[in-house]
């Protein structure tokens, strides 16, 4: 349950950017969140509303792009989609997978005034 701290991190970045890029209102926050990032989307949405109160992003809506997880399967020598870290390769059922994506947790864009 670190979604609260994540939202504090998001706010920190927004406030830094507000100074740098001279905006006073954030209308939308767009995040990339990988399915392996350990982020609970509903908890994040809840925390977002709470944390953003009284800030430049008070009225901002949150848009979350969920990023699929991928791994490199060594026996198959190709990239496969997975759902969890311990998943086997969907083709050859080997566990020799190297997770290559899906743990992203970043602010992609802000829509601002």
């Amino acid at each position: 349950m670190h979604e609260m701290s994540l939202c504090e991190g998001i706010l920190q970045i927004i406030e830094d950017e507000a100074q740098k890029q001279q905006f006073t209102e954030v209308k939308q926050v767009i995040l990339d969140v990988g399915v392996l990032s350990g982020v609970e989307i509903t908890a994040l949405e809840f925390a977002f509303e709470v944390i953003m109160q009284g800030t430049v992003a008070e009225k901002a809506t949150l848009k979350i792009n969920e990023i699929e997880a991928q791994a490199w399967c060594m026996p198959c020598s190709k990239t496969v989609n997975i759902k969890q870290r311990y998943d086997a390769c969907p083709d050859c059922e080997s566990y020799q997978l190297q997770v290559s994506g899906g743990d992203e947790m970043r602010i992609k864009e802000l829509e601002v005034n």
Binding site: M1, H2, M4, S5, L6, G9, I10, Q12, I13, E17, Q21, F23, K27, Q28, I30, L31, D32, L36, S37, G38, K63, Q84, R85, Y86, Y95, Q96, V99, M105, R106, I107, K108, E109, L110, E111, V112, N113
Partner: protein, 311 residues
């Protein structure tokens, strides 16, 4: 705005109007899954679902709101951020790591669920290693200074961080703790994280290794239930193995599960109560530390334990 070179900030672009778009120099934009093509006629966003007619009133600033704006008039602009949400923490972690490296401090981040025997394991470790190594401890708990007191009883200095409502330590807290702890050059710093197998996985503290402690009273499928932590850890200590005769705990299966999540994870079986297997853990600490100190004559010359580890 182009985040590569900063060009085009606040540049007004009215779609459908025939004017030269000033963004015709070339460099690579990486915009994830959509593509911009910057031609003589300005932008063509191939993912736009609405048509821009000659009379279109859409106003784009810089690269424009593109896929995010509401149809029709929109005065807002999109600011590309592309920043990791934990970027601040990672910066602090980097600072901590630089400090640790410069001073030859070998830092271990101990993570586990509450009640796995972390503090017991740590106090035993300290008592067994304190003659050979200079040690210090950062204790993370939501409340109380009980654990730091337990550590101080061993004669080793400890700082307690109470996270209050927080569920994990972050790199900033650890950086602050260092100011009062002042660990010796060449020492070993143990950071006992808040008992939690979820959140501490995501927060880099600048440590050399995360050490996951799992006790056999917890169930062998914990690595699958909390894969992030076992993925982030380099070593797993399977604790309380003295209790195995009284439990139905499949050690092999537990190790197999841990390796499914993290094929590289090293597993040591220990009992902090009886001391069984603890020597393997000490060997790991000593050897891993020495690996990092190879070539560091400045640290090793004053090292308490001059002898190389015999494994």
């Amino acid at each position: 705005m182009c985040t590569t070179c900063g060009c085009g900030t606040g540049e007004v672009k009215i779609e459908g109007h025939d004017h030269h778009h000033g963004h015709d120099h070339s460099h690579d934009h990486s915009h994830g899954d959509h593509e911009h093509s910057h031609g003589e006629q300005g932008h063509s966003h191939d993912h736009h679902h609405h048509e821009h007619s000659e009379q279109s009133q859409d106003i784009h600033y810089g690269t424009g709101p593109a896929h995010a704006h509401a149809p029709g008039l929109s005065q807002s602009r999109m600011v590309e951020i592309e920043q990791n949400i934990l970027g601040k923490n990672d910066e602090y972690a980097k600072e901590n790591r630089r400090f640790f490296t410069e001073n030859g401090i070998f830092t271990l981040n101990l993570v586990s669920s509450p009640g796995s025997g972390k503090t017991t394991l740590l106090t035993r470790t300290i008592n067994d290693l304190k003659d050979d190594l200079s040690l210090s401890v950062i204790e993370g708990d939501q409340q109380t200074t009980h654990d730091a007191e337990r550590i101080r009883e061993t004669g080793v200095s400890a700082v307690q961080i109470n996270t209050g409502k927080g569920c994990h330590l972050d790199a900033h807290m650890v950086g602050h703790a260092m100011e009062s702890l002042k660990p010796d050059k060449g020492s070993v710093l143990f950071v006992e994280n808040v008992g939690n197998l979820v959140c501490p996985a995501a927060f880099d503290l600048g440590e050399a290794h995360k050490v996951a402690i799992l006790s056999v009273t917890e169930g062998e499928d914990k690595p699958l239930k909390y894969p992030d932590m076992f993925f982030a850890a380099d070593i797993m200590l399977l604790n309380k193995i003295d209790l195995l005769p009284y439990l139905e705990f499949d050690v092999e299966k537990c190790i197999e599960y841990a390796r499914r999540v993290n094929p590289d994870i090293q597993v040591l079986q220990v009992s902090a109560t009886t001391g069984e297997g603890m020597d393997t853990w000490y060997q790991w600490v000593q050897a891993s530390r020495q690996m990092r100190l190879i070539g560091r004559a400045d640290i090793l010359s004053s090292d308490k334990s001059q002898k190389l580890v015999s494994v």
